[in-house]
């Protein structure tokens, strides 16, 4: 791993350790009260989920265009990030909604399209795992659909009737609520970057291991 990796891990760990203090200092939202503070982990998880889906799609498109395995490894790592952070989004959301809306789940456009995006990321990983030779190209095609779903997820709350907060909420946040959100967002993006770096490294070493075994087989 590069030299900057360990200090970056320490910075990321410190940011996550500080985040509860920063969130505790944020004021309560007037109608939802304490439970609204789920927002400070829910929304960064959702943004990282959407970003990872886009990264997976772009890397897959580059892999399909060039055939370079480096892009394929990036797409694979990004798909795992999409599954992980998508799960965090889809679990923290209902925990917030149960108190704020009185229901665990509603089938509105935002939540349903997020679930579809998460299942596409899962399908990508399952295809990679069990699809056999050539499955990386099929999976790359699937990742393009996952990326195409992202703008739909983002704007869905503005075009379809829902009780999900609109996209205007975040730009209008006061500093006392906006700072904790940006702090958590920076922590989550740094974590995503570090986890992706680690996952790409695993894939690189796995490819190296496969090459060594292949050469040993050829020698034998």
């Amino acid at each position: 791993m590069p030299k900057w990796f360990s200090p970056a891990v320490l910075v990321c760990g410190a940011m996550f350790a500080l985040s509860p203090l920063v969130i505790a200092n944020a004021p309560y939202e007037s109608t939802m009260g304490l439970v609204q503070k789920v927002f400070y982990y829910h929304m960064p998880s959702a943004w990282v989920f959407l970003t990872a889906s886009v990264v997976c799609g772009i890397a897959s498109a580059r892999f399909l265009a060039t055939g370079n395995a480096r892009h394929d490894r990036t797409a694979l790592a990004a798909a795992e990030m999409a599954v992980l952070f998508g799960l965090l989004t889809l679990v923290t959301g209902p925990l917030w909604a149960r108190k704020a809306w009185g229901q665990w789940w509603i089938w509105d456009a935002r939540i349903t399209s997020s679930l579809v995006g998460w299942m596409i990321a899962w399908a990508y990983l399952i295809l990679r795992q069990y699809g056999g030779p050539g499955s990386e190209k099929l999976a790359a095609g699937l990742a393009l659909f996952g990326m195409a779903n992202v703008p739909f997820i983002y704007v869905s709350v503005n075009y379809w009737r829902t009780i999900h907060p609109a996209t205007t909420v975040v730009p209008k946040l006061p500093f006392s609520m906006g700072f904790p959100l940006m702090f958590c967002l920076a922590s989550f993006y740094l974590l995503m970057f570090l986890l992706m770096k680690l996952r790409v490294r695993v894939a690189e070493q796995q490819a190296r291991l496969d090459a060594i075994y292949l050469s040993l087989d050829e020698e034998a």
């Binding site: 998880s45 799960l87 986890l195």
Partner: protein, 100 residues
């Protein structure tokens, strides 16, 4: 004596006027409503409230944060372990191929 009687009659007239207009009771009711919480007319068991008013927020909030941190640490642990295992395997094979 006469003066006291006239004063009492005047006060009685003013009070009767207020009472017939209904302005005094209304003003008093308004002032009372502003100064103290609303009078409770019925006791409602908590299980008859809408679901979002029955639930305490703290367990949901703590649950959400705990889930996020557990999943992140779990994933970090799994990936780090995989990397260590693969790295050891690669190093072992490198040593073996150099020896032969």
């Amino acid at each position: 004596m006469m003066r006291t009687l006239i004063r009492g009659f005047a006060v009685a007239l003013v009070l009767a006027g207020f009472l017939f207009n209904g302005t005094v009771p209304d003003s008093i009711a308004t002032l009372l409503a502003q100064g103290q919480p609303k009078q409770q007319e019925v006791f409602t068991p908590i299980d008859q409230l809408p679901p979002q008013e029955q639930l305490p927020a703290a367990p949901l909030l703590v649950g959400a944060y705990a889930f996020v941190l557990l999943m992140l640490f779990g994933y970090l642990f799994i990936v780090s372990r995989r990397l260590t295992v693969i790295q050891q395997e690669v190093d072992r094979l490198d040593r073996d191929t150099k020896r032969t």
